[in-house]
């Protein structure tokens, strides 16, 4: 069965590429444009992995991450955080509050796919 990935980002220009790319790789994809939507989608779509942007309206990626991590129902959910800022303090925070991995924009599509596959354990 194909792994399910939820893409959470408020920038359509990156979403379009991510969606295209991950679908090509055979993943099942759902989209969310802000933090609240993301939480709703996690409940409805029940993904294996979330690509989570940090800077978003309503709820930030950190908040979403903390809420998800506080909920034991989603214990096995993988979270890969994406950010446009590359500061080491943010990376430290993201990993500390429960993200499994962290990537800084701009990243190469190859690297992202490799990271996602690595997290999901598919090579």
């Amino acid at each position: 069965m194909a792994h399910k990935i939820l893409i959470v980002d408020d920038e359509p220009n990156i979403v379009i590429s991510l969606e295209f790319l991950l679908k090509k790789e055979g993943f099942e994809i759902a989209l969310a444009g802000d933090g609240d939507e993301a939480l709703a989608q996690v409940a409805a779509f029940n993904p294996d992995l979330v690509l989570l942007d940090v800077m978003m309206p309503k709820k930030s990626g950190y908040e979403v991450c903390e809420i998800l991590r506080a909920d034991p129902q989603h214990g096995g959910l993988l979270i890969l955080m994406l950010t446009a800022k590359g500061r080491d303090t943010e990376v430290a925070k993201g990993l500390a509050i429960g993200a499994d991995a962290y990537m800084t924009k701009p990243f190469s599509t190859k690297e992202l796919i490799a990271k996602v596959k690595h997290l999901l354990g598919v090579v």
Binding site: E66, G86, R87, D88, T89, E90, A92, P106
Partner: protein
């Protein structure tokens, strides 16, 4: 005429008085008599002459005794009193005339004593007033010096010749950091009381600035001048000069010195440069790549039906350029992340100091006890301590309101360039929403409102904060992530220990003390000295023994300066002798990797420039220095005084002139011995004690001291 002679004359006069009238009247009667009368008289007299003579002699003797008594009591008594009064006048104020002798003399003595008592009272009063005035001046000076030493800016005060009269700790550290080569060797050698500022700052630039100030003064403008200068080591200094005016004077002639405030702007200029570079890399650097992408994309859009091969080439252009931009952005971020951070002024703070401040405040404001756990007590962070302490207190008060924890704990750790400051409490889990509201709300603690939110404070620091649980321990913490600072100026702890007691960074008496060059005929108390001592591998320099430590301090204006020291271990490049190690306490481990004598000697040479050298048993130490002359090309040609010889000059009858013996004799105590610096300091103390003793012997100049030293027995020992 002496008292004794006068007494003899008085005795003679008494004799004449007793016999004269009788003899003269007898003579007159005799001349008037006839011959038979004279015969009868002779007959009468010869039978009774013995009685008369005896009576006369008896009367004369009593007269002499009385005269002697009177003489003793009145003449000699008064003479003694005069001597006593002289003594009271000159040597011993407390001496008094003893009340004996006849009543008249006693009255005089009592009156003299009363007069002396009155004089003493007046003198005491004057002295105490002088002492009070002196103390208040001293206190003012100390206050000024204390104030200066706390300033974060480097301040140096000089007289018009460029001699340093005052400098603060910051200046010392800053200039110490400027010295080239192994800084531990230079040991702040460049800056020191009585030294010339021109060794640090260009003389011509200082003079130009003084000229500017004079012109501004003449034009009635605010008297100050600024200049930027480079040091020998290539550091950029921004210097501000303000004049010191002689009290009471006006105009140009009244300048007596100047105050320099010095900022090392190398770092900030560098940072600004880096920021500009980053900006340039991001703008100019991206322009070309973006241009290429736009052209390629434009073609792709405008000619959708172009050949596949061409189309692929355009797409590749886009991919390549985007890739290049990504890489350049990564490079910029990696290289300039420090420069791009917030420009809010942050200071270097010792993190445990900050925690201690927060603990106090939380205790005071909220009555909430707190403890510390694991603490990295050497961790410095870049912080605005006020807002950080406020943030910690704010969080503590929020916790108190919501969870009423019994106590809080602080933890301090670090990972690479990040410091972790944790505020820990035991209690139930909190929701992340709650924390986010705490983070965004304006902070207020116990009625004290701040326009800032926790998030603002964190952003100012370029830091992060989050909430995290320690499930196993049933507790949670807020983690502040803050940038680690590398304090520019370290080693302050070591310096503080030395500066206990009276600050020695100033000497205003130097205002009128221009010429410091060595003049052998100047007073001993007026010259600048370097007292030094060496530790060596053994006692035979000619057989290959080497210096392993040099310690030295300066004496300026009759004061031993504990802050202006030279303290350096030297690698002798030969094995240490095991039997000597217990004496000097320096081991192989301590000397290996230290600079060798070729490096240390030039620094020491600079340290003692223009000073008279002092050492105990100086011939020994000088021999070691002289043996290196050929190799280093450095001559220690200045005059050398030896406290061993000077002690022999002062106390020729004492058996021992070892440093220990002299220290004991002069009532001096020092803690550790046989460490070059400690011994040098002890030698300095000894010298200062010897100066007044030499003066008593009429030895007041360096030339006299050298000549007297040469004549002592000990001067003949050769190494």
């Amino acid at each position: 005429m002496k008292a004794k002679q006068r007494f003899l004359i008085a005795v003679a006069v008494l004799g004449l008085l007793m016999t004269g009238p009788f003899i003269i009247s007898s003579l007159l009667v005799w001349l008037d008599m006839k011959a038979d009368e004279r015969d009868m008289l002779i007959r009468l007299l010869t039978s009774r002459l013995p009685t008369g003579t005896v009576m006369t002699l008896f009367g004369f003797a009593i007269g002499v005794v009385v005269l002697h008594k009177l003489f003793k009591q009145y003449i000699e008594g008064l003479l003694r009193m005069a001597e006593t009064l002289r003594l009271m006048l000159n040597a011993n104020r407390d001496f008094r005339v003893s009340l004996d002798g006849p009543p008249e003399v006693r009255q005089l003595a009592a009156a003299a004593n009363d007069l002396a008592a009155q004089r003493d009272a007046l003198m005491d009063d004057v002295e105490s007033q002088i002492a009070r005035a002196k103390a208040s001046v001293e206190e003012e000076k100390n206050r000024l010096a204390a104030l200066m030493s706390e300033l974060a800016q480097a301040v140096v005060v000089c007289n018009l010749d460029g001699r340093i009269l005052l400098y603060n700790n910051r200046a010392r550290l800053q200039f110490k950091a400027l010295t080239q080569g192994p800084t531990s060797v230079s040991g702040g050698a460049l800056i020191g009381l009585g030294r010339s500022i021109h060794s640090i700052l260009e003389k011509s630039q200082i003079e130009h600035a003084l000229e500017v100030i004079r012109q501004r003064l003449a034009a009635g403008k605010a008297a100050l001048a600024n200049f930027v200068t480079t040091t020998r080591g290539g550091q950029l200094l921004r210097v501000q000069m303000v004049p010191v005016r002689a009290s009471g004077g006006e105009g140009e002639a009244a300048l007596s010195g100047y105050v320099l405030t010095v900022d090392n702007i190398t770092h900030s200029i560098e940072q600004e440069g880096r920021r500009d570079q980053a900006l340039l890399a991001l703008t100019e650097g991206s322009r070309a790549a973006l241009g290429n992408i736009r052209a390629a994309v434009g073609n792709l859009i405008d000619y959708p039906d172009m050949e596949t091969e061409l189309r692929e080439r355009f797409v590749k252009v886009v991919a390549d350029e985007a890739d290049k931009m990504s890489q350049s952005l990564d490079r910029t971020m990696a290289g300039f992340s420090d420069s791009l951070k917030t420009r809010w002024p942050l200071e270097d703070v010792l993190a445990i100091d900050l925690i201690a401040a927060a603990q106090r405040r939380i205790g005071d404001k909220l009555d909430l006890p707190s403890k510390t756990e694991e603490q990295d007590d050497a961790l410095w962070i870049k912080a605005d301590s006020f807002s950080l302490v406020l943030a910690l207190t704010y969080l503590a008060s929020k916790l108190q309101d919501h969870y009423a924890p019994r106590e809080l704990r602080f933890r301090l750790t670090s990972a690479g360039k990040l410091a972790y400051l944790d505020l820990i409490w035991a209690g139930p889990a909190m929701s992340s929403e709650t924390f986010y509201t705490w983070e965004m709300d304006a902070m207020n603690v116990g009625g004290e409102n701040s326009p800032l939110s926790l998030r603002d404070v964190i952003d100012r620091h370029g830091g992060e904060i989050w909430y995290q649980r320690e499930k196993a321990a049933h507790r949670a913490f807020f983690r502040f992530v803050l940038p680690v600072a590398t304090p520019e100026i370290g080693a302050e702890a070591e310096d503080r220990s030395r500066s206990a007691g009276r600050p020695e960074y100033y000497d205003f008496d130097l205002f009128n003390f221009a010429d410091k060059s060595i003049d052998l005929d100047r007073k001993l108390a007026e010259l600048t000295y370097t007292v030094f001592d060496t530790e060596t591998t053994g006692l035979e320099p000619s057989k290959g023994d080497e210096i392993i430590q040099i310690g030295a301090a300066r004496i300026v204006n009759n004061r031993l300066l504990h802050q202006e020291i030279f303290d350096q271990i030297v690698d002798p490049e030969i094995p240490l002798k095991p039997e000597s190690i217990p004496i000097h306490g320096i081991t192989e481990d301590m000397v290996r990797g230290k600079p060798n004598i070729d490096v240390v000697l030039p620094a020491f040479h600079e340290f003692c420039e223009d000073t008279v050298l002092i050492a105990h048993n100086a011939a020994f130490d000088m021999r070691f220095l002289q043996l290196k002359e050929e190799r280093t090309g450095l001559q220690f040609a200045q005059p050398v005084l030896d406290t061993l010889l000077l002690s022999a000059v002062v106390h020729p009858n004492q058996e021992s002139h070892k440093l220990e013996a002299i220290l004991e004799r002069l009532g001096l105590q020092i803690e550790t011995r046989h460490n070059a610096l400690e011994d040098a300091l002890a030698t300095g103390e000894v010298f200062l004690k010897l100066v007044p003793l030499l003066e008593e012997k009429g030895i007041t100049t360096v030339r006299q001291a050298l000549e007297a030293s040469e004549k002592t027995y000990f001067a003949r020992i050769k190494y």
